[in-house]
Amino acid sequence: MGKGNGLFAVALIGVLTLSATGEEPLSLVIPKATLPSVVTAVEPSHETASVTLADAARQNDFTAFEALYTAHPNPAFADLHALWTYSQTERVGAFYGEELHTRLARRYPAFAAYIDEYKIVDSHGTAFWPTAETRTFLVDRALKSDVPTASPIRIATTTHTQRSRRSPRRQRSQRRI
């Protein structure tokens, strides 16, 4: 009896030692029937977000707007594109002066009355108008397809703001608006 107990103790110690030496437990075996069946296409289909020019304009996403407009230019958004590009490239692009204001007012009859309340007059008495509110106006017109059919007007813009700051002779290019 004492001998049997001794053997049992030796066997138990042996088993414990083996399990403590780091032998990996067997992985769980799952029967195939319980696994979900997957029907694979050639590539998994991802839903693509279809952003339009109007969406990008409303969400103030110039990067998306620029990419979309460059890929598929839409005449209804031509003025908006030109103005937004101006605001993104000019050093003081958030505002514009008398010249552009006059042109926009001539092109859109309701514009002058709309933008008047946003006019800003600086310390020298010079009037400026904001690009952001003008963009809102142009988005509205583009969505209503209320854009004049006449060819877009032009605006002089500096091509390189850093260069223009150093040089008294500003390099100008014609951008359509």
């Binding site: 990067t63 998306a64 692009g93 505002f95 904001p130």
Partner: protein, 151 residues
């Protein structure tokens, strides 16, 4: 006892009057990030920018006054002024334009306005584009964390 009761009633009345008055008290918070910034009108943006520049400059000048002209604080203020103050470097019109460009990328919408201004100033001073992009990525993470924390 009567006086005590009267005093207690008066206290309750005053508290209720203040509590009722609170919702009607006007309150405007400065823009925290791009989302807030884009809700402002251009006039608001312009005057905020001018006020920001003036306030920043005034605060830095006060460090000099309070801590002494040759103190460590004054030196720190001078360095901060050189690096991050907008006053005397960009006009209000330029700062608004810079922030409009910065927030023209919708991925920057959650970046705090203070970080956006700093990045814009570095950009305007000709800092290399790799560093600028790293700063933008860090600021985006910061903005996302702030947003998650505030929810």
């Amino acid at each position: 006892m009567k006086r005590l009761l009267l005093g207690f009633a008066l206290l309750l009345f005053t508290a209720s009057v203040f509590a009722a008055d609170r919702p009607t008290t006007p309150e405007i918070n400065p823009p925290a990030n791009g989302e807030d910034w884009l809700k402002l009108s251009s006039t608001e943006k312009l005057f905020w920018s001018i006020g920001y520049a003036q306030g920043y400059q005034d605060a830095l000048n006060k460090i000099d006054v309070a801590a002494g002209s040759n103190s460590a604080c004054a030196n720190l203020a001078a360095r901060t002024e050189r690096q991050t103050s907008t006053a005397g470097k960009v006009s209000g019109f330029e700062l608004v334009s810079g922030l409009e460009k910065f927030y023209g990328d919708s991925a920057n919408a959650q970046i705090p306005v203070g970080s956006a201004i700093r990045i814009y100033l570095l950009q305007a001073s000709g800092k290399d584009q790799t560093t600028i992009q790293e700063l933008i990525e860090t600021a985006r993470l910061l903005g996302a964390q702030t947003r998650t924390a505030s929810k």
